[in-house]
């Protein structure tokens, strides 16, 4: 009996030791990034990249958490707590947000500090009319963050509604700079266009930007910091003269005509008006306030035909001719390089450049004779890439007639472009490297130091057919790999907490390129590089400069 007991004890110890060898451990604590106080009741998740099961823990009173018995593999770390950003940051030795943690058998990753960023709170009121004004129940508030794409500036929008007293509380904003725009509610009497006192003109409740500017040019951004409570954002709607835009639309399947306010050529889609196309092809859009607009025909699948720029001044806009004729894409493609794949295996990929998350992709197959045609394409701005089922291809050049296409963007908003001559090359390469940390003493930490750090590869010169930027996540050793990269000259950076779209802005890249590592990638090359960390102060100065 005693012998049996000791055998079981030995087996138990053996099993425990074996588990320690074959499984990983992971522990640390969650703290408030501003106050440094522990964050209790935070849900910490380890979600497998490819496995079948993940792990979840709840932080204790001191913010502590501990994962034991983790199967080796790659995991994504997530954190969730009411009032805090879900983006995981880390202090000193930490884990880049959303990045992959590679856990090996027997590894014990201890004392990890996860910084929970308290979300800022923004509150305000929407009113209308003279004096103190009256609250506007259910007014819509658009919270706008300026972003960049390869084609220039755009705005990311989050909307919320005021309550019955016209008060609003901005939902779960990440720290950043925001513009605030308020407009009349989506339904109810305040949506009406009304005759003015003279009975001749019309007025409507016009939208307004903080601080009470009628257009975005007069708007001021509000800087919102982590944990900060910004109160008293007052937005006053005004009964303003508004006008009609009338005209006729042509082309098949046009259902309505839409006017979108613009800032130069950047559309501001939260300021839009539309009207149905009448059976005789005419349209009449009421309630348009003075300003610059893009007018386009809309079919049941979205915009059709070219958009045209118009300006509404102090009277109705008459006689608009809005074409809903389909915009088509036509190109001739040739493939160069040894072992080039057959043309029929090559395709072109057009991606709209409205911004990450909103991008739409259109694939244009290349025919055996080299033609690539699409009879109907949404009139928008696109970037162009080439692909092949065999991989390794890239766009080498894009010409319209004898001239190189002058811009990295294909702008089809003005109508069908001329036939393009596209040369597709064979021989993409790879750029691999590690992060060159500013302080070498931190190089030995088991996971990447810094907050939400990523590697970024940008072309030294932009052109049509080449992407604005590539991004790679770091592993816990700070290593990264960029694959399927066209040959050419690039800069490589390691950067934290910078939005992707910023890297599409060539002005920004011009300002920070001195902090990047230059790379010259030959055809089918494999280049090693050490990517310096972009100093936060340099990035901040560059951002201030391009605003």
């Amino acid at each position: 009996m005693a012998r049996g007991h000791s055998v079981r004890t030995v087996l138990l110890i053996f099993a425990t030791v074996l588990t320690g060898w074959t499984q990983a451990q992971f522990s640390g604590r969650v703290t408030n990034s501003i106050t440094g106080l522990p964050v209790a009741k935070a849900t910490v998740r380890l979600a497998p990249v490819a496995g079948r099961a993940g792990y979840v823990r709840t932080s204790g009173a001191a913010g502590e958490f501990r994962f034991e018995g983790i199967s080796p593999g790659d995991y994504r770390l997530g954190m969730e707590r009411r009032g805090f950003s879900p983006v995981v940051h880390s202090a000193g030795k930490g884990v880049p947000g959303g990045s992959v943690i590679h856990l090996t058998a027997g590894q014990n990753l201890a004392d990890l500090d996860l910084l929970a960023t308290p979300l800022p709170i923004v509150t305000g009121t929407v009113t209308e009319g003279p004096g103190e004004g009256e609250p506007v129940p259910r007014a819509i508030i658009e919270i706008l963050a300026q972003r960049w794409s390869i084609a220039g500036r755009w705005y990311e929008e989050i909307d919320t509604a005021a309550n019955d007293q016209g008060q609003f509380r901005a939902p779960e904003l990440e720290p950043g700079r925001y513009y605030f725009y308020a407009r009349r509610p989506d339904e109810g009497p305040l949506t009406e266009v009304v005759k003015d006192a003279s009975g001749k003109g019309e007025v409507c409740l016009a939208g307004v930007y903080y601080p009470n500017a009628p257009s975005i040019e007069g708007a001021s951004a509000v800087e919102v910091r982590a944990g900060q409570e910004v109160t008293g954002i007052g937005l006053r709607l005004a009964w303003s003269p508004c006008f009609h835009a009338r005209g006729r639309t042509t082309g098949p399947d046009v259902e309505e005509v839409q006017m979108i306010r613009r800032r130069q050529d950047t559309p501001l889609p939260w300021e839009s008006r539309e009207a149905d196309r009448a059976t005789d092809g005419t349209f009449d859009i009421p309630g348009v306030v003075a300003g610059d607009y893009l007018v386009s025909a809309i079919g049941h699948r979205g915009p059709k035909g070219p958009a045209q720029e118009v300006t509404v001044e102090s009277r109705d806009l008459e006689g608009l001719a809005v074409s809903g004729e389909n915009v088509s894409f036509n190109a001739r493609v040739q493939v160069e390089g040894d072992g080039a794949p057959p043309l029929s295996s090559v395709y072109l990929l057009l991606e709209t450049v409205t911004g990450p998350g909103n991008a739409r992709f259109t694939t244009v197959p290349v025919q055996p004779d080299g033609t690539a045609r699409l009879g109907r394409i949404t009139p928008a701005r696109y970037t162009l890439a080439a692909g092949s089922s065999q991989g390794g291809v890239y766009v080498k050049s894009v010409k319209a007639g004898p001239e190189e296409w002058p811009s990295p963007v294909l702008d089809f908003r003005g109508g069908s472009p001329p036939e393009l001559e596209i040369v597709v090359g064979l021989g993409t390469g790879q750029v691999q490297g590690t992060v060159q940390w500013p302080d070498p003493s931190e190089g030995a930490v088991p996971v990447a130091a810094g907050d939400a750090m990523r590697a970024v590869l940008v072309p030294q010169e932009s052109r049509a057919g080449i992407r604005g930027a590539w991004f790679a996540e770091l592993d816990q050793n700070g290593a990264f790999t960029f694959s399927e990269i066209p040959p050419g000259k690039y800069f490589v950076f390691a950067a934290a907490n910078l939005e992707e779209a910023l890297w599409m802005n060539r002005e920004f890249i011009g300002l920070v390129q001195g902090s990047g590592a230059p790379v010259d990638l030959p055809e089918k090359g494999n280049v090693q590089v050490e990517a310096p960390v972009l100093p936060a102060a340099v990035a901040q100065r560059a951002m201030e400069s391009i605003r």
Partner: protein, 518 residues
């Protein structure tokens, strides 16, 4: 009554010298006191957008619209602290050239706030909880709950409903299930399956036991505390053998349907499921390729194996063509057109192609029912042909696939109906809805009577109907039983092609309709 009449007279006296086409006085419905500075919008009823007229009520609540073009209008009101309203709940004001309307008595209902906080069991506020406001259904076909509004709590766990009319309400609260696509193991090595199931104010597990909240005009009900009810969800896990490309699992439960993806190796996991009996269907597009009954009443189901049926019949497409009955009449379906096929409880919507044609795609051979054809505009469906044969759409035999397409013959709505309400009230102060019910019990057309009790319906499809005039009509309460109960107060009408008919109709009061429901 006499006081109100005197007040209306006094308040509008100020306008007596002016020529007011539309005038009246605005009062608080509860106190009867005048309400000043109310925005009154006279909104033209027209197919095209015509600017409205705006006036504000004066010191005694009086208002006057001097210049009003002839036409039909609604009078909408807006003022802080009051609910937005429409005069009489939608009475159409028919303004005719050279005449003035009788003075209107516009009553505003003071807004009341229903607010509170959602907390977890430990008292901690819960952000993004879903709070639902219900009323009890009074329909004879359904005595359950009718959702009126819903919203998510803010970062403080706070909810606030500010647009509810006075009435009796019930509150439900729940929160979305998380982590249901993979097991997330807790410290004990078990999948964490805690979630929240709907509970009702004040702490009821069932709607039947919910405590009513009575909301009176102007009397806020604040500080309500709703506690989320934790539950242990279940999961289903296993593998699919021979899953075709793009296949997925559909999990049917009496409370709803959900789905799960299948991993490349054929394995699947779906958590966040309420306990109960599930039918797990393996589907590729709309094709059913396998099925299994799974019982999650007493625990999780691991190791479920579903084998794909490789012999399932192929799906097919049923093209739908529209044409006008009258030769040479051009007809092109609008994008508002929709057609719905039903197989059991499963609905399929026809897809519109860029060229304006329609088709039902991915149909499996079976018996179907054409549930709905909506063509809108001035046309109605005159005839339906399936494979060249006429059909009423109630049973479509598609067991052998596409029988040769569907053709929908439309004709222009050519009949018209004018009428007036008979009764004691010379001027309507409550909206009366006129319903034209077809021989299948469906609402064919509806309109509102104007302030003089007159109404008209143009572009009506020829056919046999019953005509009802209902005060305070709510479409959610309308069903065939109610139609039967009120039949004695309705009028049978038959409209021929191009016919114009005049009728007289007695309105059904809200009390009469409520009695019929009970």
């Amino acid at each position: 009554m006499r006081t109100a009449a005197w007040f209306l007279l006094a308040a509008t006296a100020g306008w007596a010298q002016a020529d007011c086409v539309v005038r009246g006085v605005v009062t608080d419905q509860s106190t009867g006191k005048p309400v000043t500075n109310v925005k009154l919008f006279l909104v033209r009823q027209s197919s095209r957008e015509i600017p409205s007229l705006l006036q504000r009520s004066g010191e005694q609540g009086g208002f006057c619209f001097e210049t009003v073009d002839p036409g039909d209008y609604l009078l909408e009101t807006q003022r802080a602290a009051y609910l937005d309203g429409t005069y009489g709940g939608g009475v159409v004001l028919a303004v005719r050239a050279g005449s003035e309307l009788e003075p209107l008595s516009v009553k505003l209902v003071r807004r009341a706030i229903l607010s509170g906080t959602v907390v977890e069991g430990d008292g901690e506020p819960f952000a993004r909880a879903e709070v639902h406001v219900y009323r009890r259904l009074r329909s004879r076909e359904d005595s359950g709950q009718d959702e009126v509004e819903s919203q998510e709590t803010d970062d403080r766990g706070v909810f606030r409903f500010g647009d509810l009319p006075p009435g009796t309400y019930y509150l439900g609260v729940t929160a979305k299930a998380r982590d249901f696509n993979m097991p997330l193991l807790d410290a004990g090595g078990k999948p964490r399956q805690e979630g929240y199931t709907e509970s009702f104010y004040s702490a009821a597990a069932r709607f039947e036991d919910a405590k009513p909240v009575v909301l009176q005009a102007g009397k806020d009900v604040t500080g309500l505390l709703l506690t989320l009810r934790k539950t242990q969800f279940r999961h289903i896990a296993g593998k699919v053998v021979g899953a075709p490309e793009g296949a997925y699992l559909r999990l049917q439960h009496p409370d709803g349907t959900t789905s799960s993806g299948i991993r490349a190796d054929g394995s699947f996991y779906r958590g966040g499921l309420e306990p109960g009996q599930y039918t797990v269907e393996l589907r590729a597009g709309n094709l059913l390729r396998g099925k299994k009954e799974v019982d999650l009443s007493s625990g999780d189901a691991d190791g479920v194996t579903i084998t794909a049926d490789q012999t399932a019949a192929a799906d097919f497409t049923l093209p739908v063509q529209f044409r006008a009955e009258k030769a040479g009449e051009p007809y092109r379906p609008s994008s508002n057109t929709f057609l719905v096929l039903l197989k059991g409880n499963e609905a399929r919507l026809a897809q519109m192609s860029a060229d304006g044609t329609f088709q039902f795609t991915n149909l499996t051979p079976d018996l179907y029912r054409l549930e709905r054809v909506w063509v809108g505009g001035d046309f109605y469906v005159k005839r339906i042909l399936l494979g060249g044969e006429s059909t009423d759409g109630r049973t479509l035999d598609l067991r052998n696939g596409n029988p040769g397409g569907m053709q929908i013959v439309v004709a222009r709505k050519s009949a018209a109906l004018t009428g007036r309400l008979v009764g004691d009230t010379p001027v309507l102060s409550q909206a009366v809805t006129i319903l034209l019910i077809d021989d299948l019990g469906r609402i064919g057309e509806s309109t509102h009577a104007d302030q003089n009790g007159q109404f008209r319906m143009e572009h009506v499809a020829p056919g046999k109907y019953r005509l009802f005039a209902l005060e305070q009509f709510e479409s959610s309460n309308w069903d065939s039983d109610l139609a039967d109960a009120l039949q004695a107060k309705s009028l049978a009408v038959e409209l021929g092609d191009g016919e114009m008919k005049k009728v007289e109709l007695a309105p059904i009061t809200a009390q009469e309709a409520a009695r019929a429901v009970k």
